[in-house]
Amino acid sequence: MAERVGIVAVAQTKYHPNRADVNEGELVYEAIKQVLDETGLVYADKGKGIDATITCSQDMWDGRTISNLGVMSYVGAHLADEDKVCEDSINALYCAMARILSGHHDIVLVAAHCKESQANKSIVENAAFDPIFLRLLGLDFLAAAAMQATRYMHRYGITAEQCAKVAVKNRGNAKNNPFAQESLNITIEDVLSSVTLASPIRLLDSKPISDGACAMILARESKAKKLASKPVWILGASNCYETHYPGYRELADCDALVKAARKAYSMAGITSPLRQIDVAEISEEYSYQELLWMEGLGLCQRGEAGKLIDAGVTKMGGQLPVNPCGGMLSGKPTVVAGMANVAEAVLQLRGEAGKRQVPKAKVALAHGVTGICGQHQAVIILGRN
């Protein structure tokens, strides 16, 4: 059996609505500098430092072909190994994990950035739709998500109040997270009376525009134990695609997530996720998604996530706190969000999550999603032991 892969350092920028004061490189370096300082690592050849870098960014958000050109100096790519993954950044971690498990690399730096503020969200997202049958309709991820929300609520009787509870919970949790972009003291009524963006999704059901970066260092077990006093281990990881055309899918289910989770759980030896997982960080660009993805993750039966939020299972102090950091709803950029979830999970497992610490967290779940109505889903299970 191969050595396990450990996460030895994590860093995030504070998420912000507009980081016009820095370019992409300077932004990502804010996070990278921290992980380099923390581990004392330098960029070097095999055996002496970082063996490879996996970056994650999107040309469409950066407005630049080969977006990694903008960060290459800051990630130590000169005369070194670098690759760029173009999905949510949690997949860059998966890629880095493969590099280590393959035995070819010992220490890999992973860095992701996105400045949503510098592009137009609708135009970028519209470009993801099939240009022949969908794009001219003027869809963006919001409109598609809204149709998924309608379908999900219709099919399983999920209510707008239950979705609003997610928004209230996460925005409240954000008060305890120094990296969160914003925290709000809001009520269910505030959510339900906020302006409708695309029914049933309202302003407070959705995430704000956000800029930020995240960096991490992964290492094989023997190295990880030397590099960090509290390494966190990747126990399981997987990802999965499903079909593109939203009309071909049952949007109220999320088969890709079911498959990704099943694989990650089997690697991690998890048979009863709600009982075995202590804290979960789930990417919810819109409030309904936290509920729908919980079902896909098998944290409850299909259609039962509303009951969990009603019962307070996912709040701080509940059986399985979900998004103690405040989630995407409190401001995390697309692309970066999945890695930020892993970073938060690592802090939880190290017991370094400050006021948002979930007591005695030993196993954590981090989730990342890319594309239209969760077309590409990824799950990583992390553990302290």
């Binding site: 191969a2 370019n23 490879a52 999107q58 040309d59 469409m60 950066d62 407005g63 630049r64 072909t65 080969i66 990694n68 050109l69 903008g70 290459m72 790519a77 000169h78 005369l79 070194a80 190994d81 670098e82 690759d83 760029k84 993954v85 173009c86 999905e87 997949n91 998966y94 890629c95 994990m97 493969a98 590099r99 280590i100 498990l101 393959s102 035995g103 070819h104 997202e125 470009a127 993801a128 739709f129 240009p131 990881a237 997987s238 990802n239 999965c240 695609y241 499903e242 079909t243 593109h244 088969d255 890709a256 498959k259 990704a260 694989k263 890319t370 594309g371 239209i372 077309q375 590409h376």
Partner: protein, 389 residues
């Protein structure tokens, strides 16, 4: 100990300048089907799909999502990578690691580019944002033009040598059923009378724009042993990126620069006991967007000494029947669907090892081959293939 990884399926489209009969997804699907057929596997046998494409060329964000079904990716693991021209090689590298790590036992690599959709040169120009100034964004052709000028002066190569590279490429392309440009050129004079794109790059010195896709099926040793008698083993891979050169991205009039090709090949050869590349490797498929680039790459990959690249072409050493054949497929000069181009390099090198290259099978018995890719600002990825490990 890492799992061994073999290429067990190879498929590509017929490459053309325009493909109105298929959308991008259907085009990729042709290559995927061909690779699965070659591997004698069904779509359900694939566990992971790694794809490569540069989004601003076709203006599709997350094209792997649009094309997921056609790439047999639904219900499978996978992701897309993009590193410029090397994207396809990056996809091979990551798919290789997925199997070597045990995270998957079979994986599909899909590279594609549909050039009749957008404007490739414009897409490349957009690799600099306007914050750096428009003087800096002269596009790829200018880069290669500058580089050619530097190389001519430094090495003593003449335009005739560039023409010989095209002639060699064309001879290969005419024997390769999948190649795009098949000109049937008779001699260098014909090439030397073609017009200039940008001094001193002639139209025939440069690669075409292509619609095409290429797919590979990679498998673990266990699976490969069950399904094929002719596995091609991925012995090693290496990626080396670098900072832009002081005086532009590709040409180096300063003589100060270290080339990523040099660093990558030196490391790769050392790790794999290759002391004399032209002897220890039997053929190469390299990424040469221009004729001049091919001659320079001979030197940077240590196929010959410095300033002697043009002599290899002059002496016919790199011809199909030569001592060390390079790009018998016709290479990038004949076919260039950028996202797929490095995958084609690997595919063609693997076909040579299998002895399945048909009319463009080289004379030399190919046991070891190397495939290279060029991207970003002179970034390199190399993949070393062997008939047996």
């Amino acid at each position: 100990m890492a799992n061994r990884v073999a290429i067990v399926g190879i498929g590509q489209t017929f490459h053309k300048s325009k493909r109105p009969d298929v959308n991008q997804a259907e085009m990729a699907n042709e290559a995927v089907r061909a690779a699965l057929t070659d591997a004698q596997l069904g779509s359900k046998d694939i566990e992971a799909v790694v794809s490569s494409n540069m989004e601003p060329f076709e203006g599709v964000y997350l094209p792997d999502h649009w094309m997921a079904s056609e790439m047999a990716a639904c219900g499978k693991s996978g992701f897309k990578v993009a590193t410029g021209g090397t994207s396809g090689a990056s996809a091979v590298v990551e798919a290789f690691h997925l199997i070597a790590s045990g995270l998957a036992s079979t994986s599909l690599v899909v590279g594609f580019q549909k050039h009749d959709t957008g404007d490739t040169q414009a897409g490349m120009t957009a690799c600099m944002t306007p914050v750096f100034g428009s003087g800096a964004t002269t596009g790829a052709i200018s880069e290669f033009a500058n580089q050619a000028l530097v190389y001519m002066e430094k090495s003593g190569a003449k335009e005739e040598h560039a023409a010989m590279v095209r002639l060699k490429a064309d001879r290969g392309a005419c024997r390769n059923p999948y190649a795009q440009l098949k000109l049937g050129l008779k001699g260098v004079e014909e090439i030397l009378s073609s017009g200039y794109l940008e001094w001193p790059i002639r139209i025939l010195d440069f690669c075409p724009q292509t619609c095409g896709a290429c797919a590979l099926v990679l498998a673990s040793e266990e699976i490969a042993g069950k399904i094929t008698r002719k596995p091609v083993w991925i012995a090693d891979t290496i990626t080396v990126h670098q900072e832009p050169f002081r005086a532009g991205s590709f040409g180096d009039p300063t003589g100060l620069e270290t080339y990523s090709q040099d660093v990558a090949s030196t490391k790769l050869y050392k790790r794999n006991g290759i002391t004399n590349p032209r002897k220890d490797i039997d053929m190469a498929e390299i990424y040469e967007p221009s004729t001049w680039e091919e001659m320079m790459h001979y030197e940077h990959y240590h196929f010959c000494d410095e300033n002697e690249g043009w002599k290899l072409i002059e002496k016919g050493i790199t011809a199909i029947e030569g001592e060390f054949p390079v790009n018998p497929s016709g290479g990038v000069l004949s076919t260039n669907p950028i996202g797929a181009t490095p995958v084609i390099r690997v595919a063609e090198a693997a076909l040579q090892i299998r002895g399945d290259a048909g009319e463009h099978q080289v004379t030399r018995d190919v046991k070891t081959a190397v495939a290279t890719a060029l991207g970003g600002c002179n970034w390199t990825t190399m993949i070393l293939l062997r008939r047996s490990l």
